[in-house]
Subunit: 627 residues, 2 copies
Amino acid sequence: MNRRRSYFALLFAASLFFPAARADEGMWLFNAPPQIQLKQRYDFDLTDQWLEHLRLSTVRFSGASASFVSGDGLVMTNHHVGLFTMHKLSRPDRDLLADGFYARSLDEELKCENVELNVLASIEDVTGRIEAAVAHLSNPAQAAERRRAEMNTIEKESFEKTGLKSEVVGLYYGGLYHLYRYKVYTDVRLVFSPEESVAAFGGDPDNFEYPRYSLDVCFFRAYEDGKPAKTPHYLKWNTAGSSENELVFMAGHPARTQRQKTVGHLEYLRDVTMPASLDQCRRLEVALLAYSERSAENRRRASAAVRGAQNSRKARLGMLAGLQDPAVLKIKQAEEESLRRAAAADPKLAAQIDAALKTIDQTLQTYEKIRVEYEMLEAAQAFHSGLFHTARTLVRMVDELSKPNAERLRGFQDTNLDALKRGLLADAPIYPDLETAMLASSLGMYTELVGYRDPLVRGVMAGRSPPDRAEELIGGTRLGDVDFRRRLVEGGAEAIARCDDPMIRLAQFVDGPARKLRAICEREVNEPQTRAYGMLANVRFALYGDSVPPDATGTLRLSFGEVLGYRRDGETIPAFTMFSGLYRRAESNRFAQPYALPPIWIGLPDVRPVSCSSGSMTTPRSWCTCG
Amino acid sequence: MNRRRSYFALLFAASLFFPAARADEGMWLFNAPPQIQLKQRYDFDLTDQWLEHLRLSTVRFSGASASFVSGDGLVMTNHHVGLFTMHKLSRPDRDLLADGFYARSLDEELKCENVELNVLASIEDVTGRIEAAVAHLSNPAQAAERRRAEMNTIEKESFEKTGLKSEVVGLYYGGLYHLYRYKVYTDVRLVFSPEESVAAFGGDPDNFEYPRYSLDVCFFRAYEDGKPAKTPHYLKWNTAGSSENELVFMAGHPARTQRQKTVGHLEYLRDVTMPASLDQCRRLEVALLAYSERSAENRRRASAAVRGAQNSRKARLGMLAGLQDPAVLKIKQAEEESLRRAAAADPKLAAQIDAALKTIDQTLQTYEKIRVEYEMLEAAQAFHSGLFHTARTLVRMVDELSKPNAERLRGFQDTNLDALKRGLLADAPIYPDLETAMLASSLGMYTELVGYRDPLVRGVMAGRSPPDRAEELIGGTRLGDVDFRRRLVEGGAEAIARCDDPMIRLAQFVDGPARKLRAICEREVNEPQTRAYGMLANVRFALYGDSVPPDATGTLRLSFGEVLGYRRDGETIPAFTMFSGLYRRAESNRFAQPYALPPIWIGLPDVRPVSCSSGSMTTPRSWCTCG
């Protein structure tokens, strides 16, 4: 238990799963790879050519990790990464999660709605340009706007010059800014997926734990011009697999780590944001399960969301247990002390640390004052409904498009408009009863947290109880109709202004207050925090060089480590799990959920060892994606 | 949807389920029955003899409702009332919930641990004696203690005089005090129970909703001197059942209603206590489900608790939706306004209303200051563990027994000691892994809500994270061993003082602070609130007489109403559900949980209509317990 807990407590990343290959410290940048460490620890020479091949073989799949595994665009990723895409492709009579899917020919591959694959083409350091743009501005509000404008402009220039999707990424909480350019694939098709009962075998109990026996994998294919994409860089399948004590690499897009956060910031996570976020997870999970229990079709409709909610809850529970463990926080305190000691000789660095820590504490106090309303209104936790999300995007898009590109909110830049419209017009199924149940729950939460007497709450509820108001909104909106959405997208500001759809009206009603909260957050929280963390990063650079990789930011990273088993309660847990273990576990649980297996899986003979992971796992000598 | 929601929003009682027989307003006292109303509305003559027969046929079953249905002690109640008892009787190889139970002879009846049946023998008004005891005391702290002492003394005197279990009950929030005397049965045996899948058919989705198709029933038998008890008063089974539009009665023990709470108090429930209580329900439900999913045996161990948690969550969600519905609160506001108007002519009454409302608001403000810590420590929400509960009872018992009877905390009076010891020494199964999971979750909640920096939190956690501390406590305590408990009970204060059991030590560590919070609550919240509500009750008596029944207090009440169907969305929902409806519902849900049926139920022919309810339902002309 302890081993498992501290494992995911330290991991601090919701979307990254490790098998028994435990990584050495660090999720390294591809333009600052751990060459020295690899040479020293493993006598391994990391060449530019090796790194380029891995980078071009690695795919960002709707924010998560995947890799090319053939020269004609075949993409392998985890089943949980493809989950929402497969759920959207399912219908009552075609349940891809329950039954799995296999396209016997290219013709049978299923085209996905609104999936985007990115391959990292280049990284450029733009720190100097952004710092120069804001250096003369002492007013945080102006600096925040200027910083955003400079990022929007850099991205637009890059896109116009290269035709590549361009994103400016802040690293070390603003210590560095890198411009990432991606080749984009938008025609993506489903090739193969096992049944969810196999892919997520062990369900919530086995999630984030090892040993685990799930075939957590699925295959898609990238297309260009209606044909399988040519992908000369790909990871070849290695039928020999990896072996114990072998050096392996993971290339992927870990979502977010918080290792460089200050102790004060981690305490704020522990005491405030993590408990609040867990309450939301539990609320969502219970509402989804109550909905699911009503019928088999309800269960199908909510299945992907249930898995998502359980995944979030379990990840956060582990993080919170880590934060609530005095031993874990002691390590962070010691790190902060040792930074102070290292800086003690240089009064300028010491003063920078003090100033940064003070600023970060102040920003947390400021955020706490707006936190609940910010989460409810701007982060839209009060409106847990895809149809509300559509309404807000429509309402904001027409507002933002009336401004020059540089001044727009992030996400509404010219370079992102195609993706935005693709999302708005995607023809994925919408289930009004599920939308109503979720919206009722989130409106209830909003009423509880902000208070029934709040004028904005009263305005949102319009004299109804939360369940009645949810029914009224979902029953009344026409946003479920893709043609209606298309008319609004094409009609622009005028169409939105004339529109009397209740969900559009609601999105308009809360947009002013939500934007105000966002502005406060950007100016008084994010911008000073960015500067303070940037200052701390610079102190660390000055003292330690760039030997500490930045926290994960959803961008491409390289990790490495040895394939190892471990010991727990005096027992050796081997580095690999076998299919036979899956059958043993299913049998000892009487094949009951979440240990059920599809009928065609029962009676299959034992096959090769398998142990899958997200990201691309490679060994120094041979490429493989599944060890 | 609306109909169903307002139905349980108005119900406001967690432990009372109605079928389609919708009650007229009121849960009437047996010593103030609605004779006039019944004569006026239904031309029905309620005689003393009729009422006495019903009273002596009705049983309080561990706080819930049941009735005698034969002259030799056979007791019928709802399956959900017997649930925890049957769960305690189950073992991995004898799952009474999954498989049901039927004793083919008296010998096969299963003796239950720690079940007490009460039959109400008499009611005596002791308001005068209690008021006289506290009238001269203006200090609320002294008054609270004096009130408690007087109640303890009255009970002790009554028990010594009559040999009957004696309880003083506050009605109208302290407007009246009645002494209830009960005949007690402690030898109770299980006779029959259907499978849980049938008894709770439809699970969470159908719970609190109608139409419903569950055979929510089970039978026990009361024994005296090792033989079936002689129970000359019992409700005879009526094979004809009841019919639509017939007048029916319900006699039972509704737990708690809050109809006479002030608008300010209801708003406090809406804004503070109900959301907090729902968060706890969800937390518990998610932790239990995560535990349950790990194996079939885990599911069995947690099954009763899961049903309890889901029941609480669904009841409270309905209550909160009612409170958050402006239309519902408007009715309460109008009632309060009309009370003020009625009192306007009498300045003394008007002043009493003002004073009472002001006092109630103040008590809520006071309670809010201690609420979280009171709930965590005194209400022991931080310690969701049966073993902690045992430890606390042991620790408190030795402290309380060193005081004179009148000064003891409620629950530790001489009259209650037998029941206390029976509970402590009951040999029901304890599952350490389940205890650990629940305690880890509740310790986590305590840390979140009170704060990691709190010295008491630090003391409770003893340098561990909540999951590690839970493992340490449950792994280390010997309280699961009934012989160990017996030695502590017999060894008294000295044995407890010497005991180094970690759970006993924890109970001791938090007992001082918990008692302090309890004292504040009794003196500064309950006592002034009791007086204020008593004042309001007296104003109502003065203006309306006792035509308004008091809120439910877990004591015997009589309700009445007509058997009626209703209309929803243009459809007529009939007053009775049939077995055929159960099969239709199971089939249309593919016999998947919670609509699964046991194998022997599949293929049975259609049988008589059935529609069960808790409490004893009677018709004027014929006794029956199941319409």
